[in-house]
């Protein structure tokens, strides 16, 4: 198993937005999906997942609804709002620019003058 990477609060919110952009999902599925997609590299802590979900809902970026889960239990499903979709687009953009910039530096082959 690869090392588990720690990540910051802002990052988890971006990951949640991306995750629920596919379809309505409950918290457990969100955590699972992130973990699966990153091949278990990122493990989402429950302790930060749920407060993040509620924060996003307060900001109006996602909305929730109670429904029945795949194994026939009552679960709270989250979907992306229009505002959330806009935010996701903007945040992904800036995240990628940031990541690209960092990558350039750490993969640099030319020695500083």
């Amino acid at each position: 198993m690869p090392t588990e990477l720690p990540f910051k609060r802002g990052a988890i919110e971006l990951l949640i937005l991306k995750t629920v952009s596919w379809r309505a999902m409950h918290g457990y599925a969100i955590a699972q999906w992130i973990q699966d997609t990153t091949d278990d590299a990122l493990r989402v802590e429950e302790g930060s997942l749920y407060p993040a979900l509620h924060r996003l809902e307060n900001k109006g970026l996602i909305e929730s609804r109670w429904g029945t889960s795949e194994n026939n239990r009552q679960a709270k499903f989250y979907t992306l709002t229009t505002e959330g979709r806009r935010t996701l687009r903007a945040e992904s953009e800036s995240w990628m620019q940031y990541a690209a910039a960092i990558t350039k530096v750490i993969t640099a082959t030319r020695q500083p003058a």
Partner: protein, 890 residues
């Protein structure tokens, strides 16, 4: 999305439960994880333990999530409320747009009511409530000498008395004296050619710490400035600094020439500062070191400050004690004299004006109430018309609260629109007030629409919105939906609705009656006052006060020559009928007085010698003023200091001194009963009023010849056709004789008289405007209600017409009903006016507060107005085609 369970939907119907939702959400997660671990072969308890371990502190997570959820519920609730309000408002505005006529009338009515209140509140606030520019102004007290037996309430104080008072009243923490303001000539450096008239006052430096106001620039006067030999220092007012020196920052420390002497400006006082009792622009230091010891030499003005925690009531007995001691020690000069005192705030505003203003506040409140009654009536009528709409909304599930809220929102939106209009009216009204009340309203320059006035407007708008909206809203929302829908549009609010309407008519009639009675009483007073016999003819007379400086005119010969030359110059001007000079023209200045005795009839011991007012006049004064000479002769050019001393006396003086005898040829001794100069009476003139229109009797008056006793300060009085042209001529004549003399402020005698009646005119003018507004509003209100009631009775009237009832009978039945309501209103109003007009008593002149002719006239006027207002709809009803009415078309 998976469907929501019925159970949960049911539960959520009763409102969100954030705590429970969070618990269930987390429980689901835990269960999912446990299931997953079990699939890998863990036992139930192992799986649960692993899950909880991974979760960390469950309580923390739960708490954080709950807090966030609760916050979300709050945000949502607020948003819902905002949405509802926005929806209500949008609906209200749509309703307004659909009913332009109603909206316009209602908003205008309320705008008048609110505007009047805002304007009057601004005045009342600026005048009565805005703090004076002194530290703890309520503790400041003005002191006077008082002589009750000679009817002198507000007399100046002698330096000798002041020194004795100063330490004798423990209730006062400080006391300071100052001189009355006097005219001086100011020459600015670099402007030598143009001397300017300013008012200066000599004040004890202690006055500044007493008032508690520091300098705006530089310093105030200090005790050292009043020491003999100190360099002459002055402090100037903010207004002088800004008007004459263009707010020049370098004025402090500069030298000016005041009455020909150099003085140094040491400070500028802040804006709005003045010394209560002397409206001067320049203050010079006053020292009492060399002042006379004569207790009867009364010329000072005195201010004191109450010690912390002490009151005026405590100061009075202490002041009485010191005046009693002075009367014992100096019986000749202090026997009947006591100390009079009044708080500065009261002095500044004046009792009469304060009362007039409070009455005015009541008056506009009445106007607002009438406006509210009118608008409530309109709303009621409209609510009746909207009954179907409201019933429909109720049937569709709107609760009573929701409908009431919708209607109230409409009322408040209307009040908001009206408040906007009212503010515009108030701004215009205050501009008008400034013009009308320039000379009447104290502190008028401090009147403006500012934050307190805006807050007041908002409050009044809110209050009246609820007042005129709540009753109709409650009534409308209570109506039975089924009934209203069944009636199919033919609406009737029934007996209860008519009762409310009738009550509103009665209220409007009675409120406007009270206002009209007030206006009527003031009007009658004013007419009476205008009819007061003046004893002189004010029309076409111009008054120009002059003062010669002692430096330029040291002796009486030069003074006499100056005034003689000016009078000659003016006399030759075109359009001038006659010209003369007097030391103080009627209603234009101070009122000098004297005591006298009759040489051949000594005053019995223990009795005071008689007193009279006096004037010093040049020949031709009587002709110029139009004062009749009753017997004897007028002054001539020969009545100089070389001729025998002569005096003219007024009818009242003659009658009091020599009852049933001819005064001509008699002698009087002025001032000291032994050493005073003796004058021979050569003429008796008609009484003329110099000070007050309102005292029942005219003060005794004596006239002396200015040729024998020239005065430095005289007023030129000119009679002619065109006062405007004369003013220019007089100005040029004075400049031609001596260009160093500042241009006097000239006034028409008519204007000076106008000033005397200005408080009355002000009160009457405003009262009349508001009463007329009230009458108009009431007439509109009566018309509106009668139209409505007639429309309600159309069916009945149509049947009666069709059955052959004469139109006249129907007309009478409608008008009769309006008149019945009016009579009730008149009755209530008369009773109210009977009680309320007493507050006007101080503003009335020779008219009782319950003057019957006024009450009767106003009652008749209101009945006529109500009759006419109801006649129009009644007439229309009888003209309607009975067939159309019966078919429900009319």
């Amino acid at each position: 999305m998976p469907s929501e369970s019925l159970w949960r939907r049911y539960r959520r119907f009763w409102g969100a439960d954030p705590a429970r939702d969070v618990d269930e959400e987390l429980a689901f997660h835990i269960q999912m994880r446990v299931d997953e671990l079990r699939r890998t072969g863990m036992s139930e308890s192992e799986a649960r333990e692993a899950t909880m371990k991974r979760f960390g502190d469950l309580t923390d997570v739960r708490e954080e999530c709950e807090t966030l959820s609760q916050e979300r519920v709050r945000i949502k609730r607020r948003a819902d409320q905002r949405d509802a309000l926005r929806q209500d408002l949008r609906f209200a505005l749509r309703t307004f747009a659909a009913n332009r006529g109603f909206t316009l009338i209602a908003a205008l009515t309320m705008a008048i009511g609110i505007g009047a209140n805002t304007a009057v509140f601004s005045v009342a606030y600026g005048v009565l409530l805005r703090p004076l520019p002194f530290r703890d102004a309520d503790a400041l007290v003005r002191l006077w000498s008082m002589n009750a037996s000679r009817n002198l309430e507000f007399f100046s104080v002698s330096p000798a008395d002041f020194k004795d008072w100063q330490r004798a009243v423990p209730a006062f923490s400080g006391m300071a004296a100052f001189d009355r303001q006097r005219d001086a000539t100011l020459v600015r450096p670099g402007a030598e050619s143009a001397p300017e008239a300013v008012e200066t006052a000599a004040v004890m430096p202690e006055i500044f710490p007493l008032l508690g106001t520091g300098a705006f620039r530089g310093r105030t006067l200090m005790a050292d400035d009043a020491q003999p030999g100190a360099p002459p220092a002055v402090v100037v007012s903010y207004d002088l600094w800004s008007a004459r020196f263009g707010e020049d920052a370098g004025l402090v420390g500069r030298q000016l020439t005041l009455d020909g002497k150099p003085v140094t400006v040491v400070g500028i006082m802040p804006r709005r500062f003045w010394i209560p009792g002397t409206p001067a622009q320049i203050w010079t230091p006053l020292s009492l070191a060399g002042a006379s010891d004569d207790h009867s030499n009364r010329y000072l003005r005195v201010l004191a400050r109450l010690a912390p925690g002490r009151t005026l009531a405590q100061a009075r007995p202490e002041a009485d004690a010191i005046s009693a001691r002075l009367a014992r020690d100096f019986p000749a000069t202090n026997a009947p004299w006591t100390i009079n005192m009044m708080g500065v705030p009261e002095m500044v505003v004046g009792r009469q004006f304060r009362r007039a203003l409070l009455v005015l506040v009541g008056v506009v409140a009445f106007v607002l109430l009438i406006a509210c009654a009118n608008t409530a009536n309109l709303q009621l009528a409209r609510a009746a018309a909207r009954q179907r709409e409201i019933a429909l909304r109720a049937a569709l599930g709107a609760t009573r609260g929701r409908i009431t809220r919708q209607l109230l929102t409409e009322s408040l939106a209307l009040a908001g629109i009206a408040a906007g209009g009212g503010l515009l009216l108030a701004v215009g009204g205050i501009k008008l007030l400034r013009k009308l009340g320039e000379t009447t309203v104290p502190r008028l320059d401090e009147v403006r629409i500012d934050a307190p006035a805006l807050a007041f407007t908002a409050l009044v708008a809110l209050g009246s919105g609820v007042l005129f909206g709540l009753l109709p809203a409650l009534r409308a929302s209570r109506s039975d939906a089924g009934e209203a829908l069944k009636e199919g549009g033919r609406t009737s609010t029934g007996a209860a609705g008519q009762g409310v309407r009738s009550a509103l008519v009665v209220a409007e009639v009675s409120l406007s009656l009270v206002l009209l009675v007030g206006a009527g009483l003031l009007m009658r007073s004013f007419v009476r006052l205008q009819a007061v016999e003046l004893g002189f003819d004010a029309r076409g007379v111009l008054v120009a006060p002059l003062r010669l400086s002692e430096a330029a005119y040291p002796d009486s010969a030069s003074v006499s020559r100056f005034y003689g030359t000016v009078i000659d110059h003016v006399r030759r001007l075109p359009g001038v009928a006659s010209v003369a000079a007097v030391n103080s023209a009627p209603f234009a200045g101070v009122n000098p007085g004297l005591v006298y005795t009759v040489p051949d009839r000594p005053t019995p011991p223990g009795e005071r010698p008689p007193d009279a007012d006096y004037r010093v006049v040049t020949p031709g004064y009587l002709r110029t003023m139009g004062i009749r000479l009753l017997s004897g002769r007028d002054f001539t050019e020969q009545d100089t200091d070389r001729a025998p001393s002569v005096v003219l006396v007024s009818e009242t003086t003659a009658g009091r001194t020599w009852p049933a005898e001819n005064a001509i040829g008699r002698q009087i001794r002025i001032g000291d009963p032994v050493k005073g100069p003796v004058f021979t009476v050569v003429g008796v003139v008609a009484d003329a009023r110099y000070q007050s229109l309102e005292t029942p009797e005219v003060r005794p008056m004596m006239y002396f010849s200015a040729l024998a006793r020239p005065q430095q300060g005289m007023m030129i009085v000119v009679r002619g056709a065109n006062t405007g042209a004369m003013a220019t001529g007089v100005r040029e004549a004075i400049a031609a004789v001596d260009p160093r003399i500042p241009t006097p402020t000239m006034r028409a005698m008519d204007d000076l008289l106008g000033l005397v009646t200005s408080t009355r005119r002000f009160a009457l003018g405003l009262f009349a405007v508001f009463a007329a507004t009230a009458l108009l509003l009431a007439a509109v209100g009566i018309y509106g209600v009668m139209s409505y009631l007639v429309r309600q009775r159309m069916h009945e009237l149509g049947i009666r017409l069709a059955l052959g009832a004469p139109a006249r009978v129907l007309l009478m039945s409608v008008v009769g009903r309006a008149l019945r309501l009016t009579m009730i209103g008149v009755g209530v109003g008369l009773a109210g006016a009977w009680g309320l007009t007493r507050v006007l008593a101080a503003l009335l002149f020779e008219v009782g507060a319950t003057d019957r002719p006024t009450f009767a006239a106003v009652a008749v006027l209101l009945v006529i107005v109500a009759g006419v207002a109801s006649l129009v709809p009644a007439y229309r009803a009888t003209r309607a085609d009975p067939l159309l009415v019966l078919r429900g078309v009319g």
